[in-house]
Subunit: 422 residues, 2 copies
């Protein structure tokens, strides 16, 4: 228990301590923090309280007097563990060091709703996988072949593509509806204008630490875990009409590069450990380089809400779970590096859209409304088949076990009308 | 003319002055430089000679006492121009400031063959286009339909995909043959092992400067030129067998992420200006956002050599020209940002494989040897259909007009045997 009161339903008890980057009022000085209850704890202000052999004050300054988390997550999992342990100790009810120092407390704690959160790491490369069998099957049914929905490679390797790192934004950032080319099946020529089929994609992503691997030296499946620092929620906004016209033969490009929203909090793999669950059975057995027997799947409840432009009411539109993912994060990472590709600290690897098996657990409007044929009714009487201007999409994620709840907070994104009339 | 003697066939007369980053002996201190004849000029050592209103000593220090060129190319084209003009003045025969200061000369000039060159910019995102009509047609004929080789979108937009930034290496860096999954048409199951169909791709790429654009604010075609700092040679190594199996439906991933080789020298658009040539005619006319009447194509001769493992003899295997590109760099950049995607200083945008119309001007083994059916004979008696272990692939590029030759130097890459036996 912490001396900081943690509301009953909070995602941020002392067992969680997710890492983020915040600034007060203006954006001028960014610094690392952890979430505890309704507060952020400014790590740059408590470096003098680090007195561990492995992480002393001087080292803590190098890690936390920084505008992002890269210096910290570039360290080894032992350092991650020591830092977490020190923070849990400092925040615990029984420890007077911080608890009874009201001056320091007033300097290092801020209410979360009073600060600005930022993208927590400098992301070098962003890769997006396609690892939900249900999602890949749904898309295959809609666009290819009802009876052979999965492409032949899908069960043999975690399909992925390289995404756009520059346009990854933190929760709360508004995005403009993108313009682009599209062509409907019944039209002869392409058109240009604002996307009409703008979609969300419910995803999670993991962030690489521990220096990554050297180019030419693939990460083995037994080593993979030690490069995975933690996870975030991610909304991989997708313009379906732009995507359909542009994506052959080299994959999605503009349809996904105008913005990708992530949650501000990175929940560490150490905090997620109690929520490990069985891997999904893989038939056929993958190649040996992808095989691992230990469970590396996680029971994370995921909800998606839409808050439409005409009301301030959240409508739950999807309820699913991360545990439905077919390929594990270890397999994704190992596959990514098998050619010798170097993965660096700060790289972001997305899961792909996470869909469950029932129609109310699908992770995109495309699937929920089955290509626009099954509109969703909202509480204000409106319907949706895709995202409309001024709609906000809210992702949440949390784990519960033995009366402990830890979560990711929210990833919120609002779509503004297309900015430029061409 | 420069007081530094420039050999007759050099790519680096005073009219060129391409920018790069080098280190002496060990790699510990990297610093910006320009090439002049057989020398590099260390810009960090001559910042006190900058006395322009726009670029004085203090500002020059901020630009050039850096481990990469990002601070410099982040500036406006006016600054790029002023720096180039100052350097041309300092290097000219008539100027005694540097010419007659033998102490300074010994500190700031190094023979190119005595220094180590580095990737000259910190690359945020790397995008690869597919803008040679001849290349896209060749690939379409081989893998799709002889009579409908170009896909329907190709003439309407510059097709592209997001590439991998982490594994971009500078000329002279050896790469290991990648391992991965592949499946031959006549086989039922995929195999795992070293790629057997390893290919080069002759490309050029341009580098973004001038701060790029803000997210949500597309770059207009009339503004595009001012974000393009300069160009490099690029070899987009491709494992064709891995690519074929993995690339549906999301595009190339592992097949291209193990390494991409660029030349160390960025030739500025200002140096390339005299070599502008007519754009390729575009039918149908593209959408207005992609239209520009001014010529923005460049007459750059491109050669590819292979130096096989058993000899030290370069074999010319391709002779083509950048001017065959269908989409211009301005169109590529404008299209890339049309959704609001933000392009940043240091981003690298590749042309895609550059093929001419005749079979000896194709930009890859895939096309030159037509899917392995037409082996190329080398001077040592061997043949090639793809790259073998210990082969070096050498790209060169240069422009000639009115007795002035400026060039890109070389981009060299050697393939070592696959490192790990799985």
């Amino acid at each position: 228990m912490s001396f900081i009161e943690v509301p009953k339903d909070s995602h941020f008890p002392i067992e969680n301590l997710p890492f983020g980057v915040f600034s007060v009022k203006d954006h001028s000085v960014l610094r690392p923090c952890v979430a505890i209850g309704e507060y952020v704890l400014d790590l740059s202000k408590i470096t003098h309280l680090f007195d561990d052999e492995m992480v002393n004050e001087e080292f803590a300054k190098k890690l936390f007097q920084q505008p992002n988390l890269n210096s910290f997550i570039d360290q080894s999992p032992q350092v991650w563990h020591v830092v977490r342990t020190i923070l849990q100790k400092l925040l615990s009810k029984d420890n007077s060091v911080l608890r009874d120092n009201s001056k320091l407390r007033s300097e290092c704690f801020h209410l979360q709703n009073s600060v600005q959160m930022h993208v927590p790491v400098q992301i070098g490369d962003y890769t997006d996988f396609y690892s939900s069998k249900e999602h890949a099957t749904n898309v295959g049914k809609m666009f290819r072949d009802e009876n052979n929905a999965l492409l032949p490679n899908w069960l043999h390797l975690p399909v992925a593509y390289h995404g756009r790192a520059s346009s990854i934004v933190v929760s709360g950032t508004d995005l403009y509806r993108p313009c682009g080319q599209s062509k409907a099946d019944n039209e002869k020529e392409p058109k240009f204008g604002p996307s009409k089929l703008l979609d969300f994609e419910l995803e999670m992503a993991f962030i690489i630490g521990n220096r990554g691997n050297k180019q030419g030296e693939p990460i083995s499946v037994k080593d993979a875990e030690k490069y995975i620092f933690g996870m975030v929620l991610m909304n991989d906004w997708s313009a379906r009409d732009i995507q359909k016209w542009e994506y052959v033969p080299l994959g999605p490009f503009l349809s996904k590069n105008f913005g990708t929203t992530i949650s501000p909090w990175i929940v560490t793999m150490e905090a997620l450990k109690p929520f490990k669950t069985k891997n999904v059975e893989q038939i056929p057995k993958p190649f040996p380089y992808l095989q691992h027997d230990d469970d590396f799947n996680f029971d994370i409840n995921l909800n998606v809400f839409i808050d439409p432009k005409t009301s301030n009411q959240r409508n739950l539109i999807t309820k699913t779970n991360f545990k439905y993912m077919y390929w594990t994060m270890k397999q994704q990472l190992v596959h990514h590096s098998i050619t010798g590709c170097n993965i660096r600290t700060g790289d972001l690897l997305g899961s792909g859209t996470i869909s469950g098996s029932s129609p109310d657990s699908f992770g995109s409007f495309l699937e929920l409304c089955w290509k626009g044929t099954k509109p969703i009714k909202l509480s204000n009487g409106e319907t949706r088949t895709f995202v409309q201007d001024h709609d906000s999409i809210i992702l949440t994620g949390y784990c519960v076990k033995d009366n402990i709840k830890i979560g990711f907070g929210e990833s919120v994104g609002k779509i503004l009308p297309a900015k430029i009339n061409f």
